[in-house]
């Protein structure tokens, strides 16, 4: 392979020749197949994803994802930073759900050190993480609808996401890459009026979900564009390691918050929404319902925040014992795992991030084969990838 394969348009045909395309019957008219390069700068690829499409007319015969344009070597950086210093970096992976990333990392290190965050910190963590889940789903809904051609939901979701970001800003000063948690708890005590802000948001947001649904759920065009598009069966989803709403939409009732509760999710009462057909529409419904369930969790959590310290007994210098740990949480996009190998020093010996977007993106190919270009756009949107996390 030549040195200049990536970034060289002439390498397109070369790359596509590697696609294993099974075209069972010869086309009746021997027409040339069209190879199209979608991305890395394309409105619908949500960043710098490049998808090479092999088309017969508009029908997709095969795809190949070229990723890595946003690769920053997070895992290498981790090996050269202390545990505390690395904490802000995780926010930059899935920047739409920075709080979840931070939660996963902090919990993994805590587990490795065998300490636990105090109850009050746990509650704050749950509230912020679930708020972040709503924010992430809102962003997904807006961009996904925009991909399918509905402009308006984007602005509605951004309006409402703003309220969540305001809460984040008041809590920790940052809106997007929050760095909200510390190893062993939270650094910041909640500000005065935090509970009130959160409950206000809940009452503000409840009718807004209905508003989104009024625009889309029964819209004929939306139904036609999403039903039976990008179908993935439960067996395929499991075999491809797909997690999160995409897996649940295929009918697998599996959510890490229930299956292997972390933080203190076991204390809260909520449902796991699942779909039946594993198509784009079901994924839409699942995520909409997840927002409602997140609101339920927040409601319970905000009502029951205990008093107490917000930091556990963590030494100033974080030096986990020799050993290794894998800890994963249910991020908005799926299972987000951290595999940390410690050699007893202040820096991780090896830190591996198991990103949900990266693994889920792998399912794109089988989801779009035989569909049209317009569906590729819809399916990329429905997988809900964040390239910062795919490329790390």
């Amino acid at each position: 392979m030549s040195i200049s394969e990536k970034g060289n348009p002439n390498a397109l045909a070369n790359a596509v020749s590697n696609l294993d395309l099974d075209t069972p019957e010869k086309p009746y008219l021997d027409s040339n197949e069209l190879i199209i390069n979608m991305g890395p700068q394309h409105p619908a690829t949500h960043g710098v994803l490049r998808v090479i499409l092999k088309l017969d007319g508009e029908k997709v015969l095969g795809t190949e994802c070229v990723i890595g344009y946003l690769h920053r070597g997070v895992e290498k950086i981790a090996e050269n930073r202390t545990y505390t210093m690395f904490n802000p970096y995780v926010d930059r992976m899935d920047y739409c759900a920075a709080v979840s990333n931070g939660l996963g990392y902090c919990e993994a290190v805590e587990k490795l050190m065998n300490v636990e965050a105090p109850a009050r910190a746990q509650y704050i963590r749950v509230i912020l993480t679930e708020l972040n889940r709503i924010a992430s789903h809102q962003l997904w809904l807006g961009t996904h609808a925009l991909d399918i051609g509905a402009m308006t939901p984007l602005f509605y979701t951004f309006r409402d996401r703003e309220e969540i970001l305001k809460i984040f800003e008041r809590y920790c000063g940052a809106r997007l890459t929050t760095h909200a948690f510390r190893i062993g708890g939270c650094q910041y005590e909640t500000y005065a009026g935090f509970e009130k802000d959160v409950t206000n948001f809940l009452s503000f947001f409840a009718p807004k979900i209905d508003e989104y649904e009024a625009l889309l759920t029964t819209n004929r065009i939306w139904l036609e564009r999403t039903k039976n598009v990008g179908v993935i069966s439960a067996a395929d989803a499991i075999a491809l390691g797909v997690t999160g709403p995409v897996l649940r939409a295929s009918g697998v009732k599996w959510d890490l918050r229930k299956a292997q509760p972390y933080a203190n999710y076991s204390k809260f009462d909520f449902e796991i929404p699942i779909g039946e057909n594993g198509d784009t529409y079901d994924r839409y419904l699942v995520r909409m319902e997840e927002m409602r369930q997140s609101m339920r969790i927040i409601e319970q959590a905000v009502g029951g925040i205990p008093e107490g310290p917000i930091m556990g007994k963590v030494p100033k210098v974080i030096k986990p014992p020799v050993g290794e740990i894998y800890h994963s949480i249910e991020a908005p996009k799926g299972e987000l795992g951290y595999f940390i190998v410690s050699d007893g020093s202040t820096q991780p010996y090896r830190l591996r991030v198991r990103p949900p977007s990266f693994v889920n993106l792998q399912a794109l190919d089988i989801m779009v084969r035989g569909l049209l270009i317009a569906d590729v756009v819809a399916v990329i949107g429905t997988i809900d990838i964040v390239l910062g996390e795919v490329d790390r």
């Binding site: 040195i3 014992p321 020799v322 595999f339």
Partner: protein
């Protein structure tokens, strides 16, 4: 293609050196489980009753207050382990650390064990495939599979050690999801997977030299040649 591993030996800038002193502890830490295993079997009594029962982290939390006690891996006993131990004998070790189970397996047993875990033990979800580099060790790499079973709601890891330049059986035919994950391992560590349908770099450009997550690849090191040719940046940075 993967054999030019030692290329960056002269260039590493001084900075990564202190980082490299860390890894010297690494091999120890990694060898510890194997070395201490017999010791752990008798000494780690308090954690032992919890270990077989607990795949969840509840026992680990219970053990938390005992601050000074540095947790050590303890043997993992379960019917599954018994079955495999009877069959494969010395080639495998089953341990539990902080409530998480893992199997250390000889490289030759890998395809067999993975397939059986998938087919017989319902570990139908391959969470992750990754690796770690221990340059001081004779077999430099740990390759780690993190598995999950929906039916048992249970996680486990399978580990094996391989030498630099050696290849290992691909798991793509067992779990399709291993495709990209193995490509990433190849991309970052240069470990080849036999039988992988399309083993090429995934995150880095195809012509990139070196494997960044190896410990001898400095954090500031970059493939300047690639940058000069493809991005037209003279300084190569």
């Amino acid at each position: 293609m993967a054999e030019e591993v030692k290329t960056p030996a002269p260039p590493p800038p001084p900075q990564p050196q202190p980082a490299k002193t860390g890894p010297s502890g690494g091999p120890e830490g990694e060898k510890k489980p194997t070395a201490e295993k017999p010791a752990a079997a008798e000494s780690a009594a308090p954690a032992k009753p919890a270990a077989p029962a607990g795949k969840s982290d509840v026992p680990a939390k219970a053990a938390a207050p005992a601050k000074p006690a540095v947790p050590t891996p303890v043997p993992w006993t379960s019917p599954l382990v018994e079955k495999y131990r009877n069959q494969y004998g010395s080639g495998l070790e089953a341990l539990t650390y902080l409530g998480q189970n893992y199997l250390s397996v000889d490289r030759s047993l890998i395809p067999d064990i993975l397939r059986r875990l998938r087919e017989d033990e319902q570990f139908d979800y391959c969470v992750d495939v990754t690796a770690a580099h221990y340059p001081k060790r004779e077999k430099q790499f740990d390759v780690i599979w993190i598995l999950y079973s929906f039916a048992r709601n249970e996680r486990m890891r399978v580990k094996t050690q391989i030498a630099d330049g050696a290849s290992i059986a691909s798991a793509v035919s067992i779990w399709p999801t291993a495709n990209w994950l193995e490509r990433e391992v190849y991309d970052m560590f240069g470990i080849r997977f036999d039988g992988h349908p399309d083993l090429k770099r995934i995150l880095l450009p195809d012509g990139w030299k070196g494997y960044p997550l190896r410990k001898d690849y400095g954090i500031l090191q970059q493939d300047t040649e690639w940058v000069q040719i493809n991005l037209g940046i003279e300084s190569g940075q």
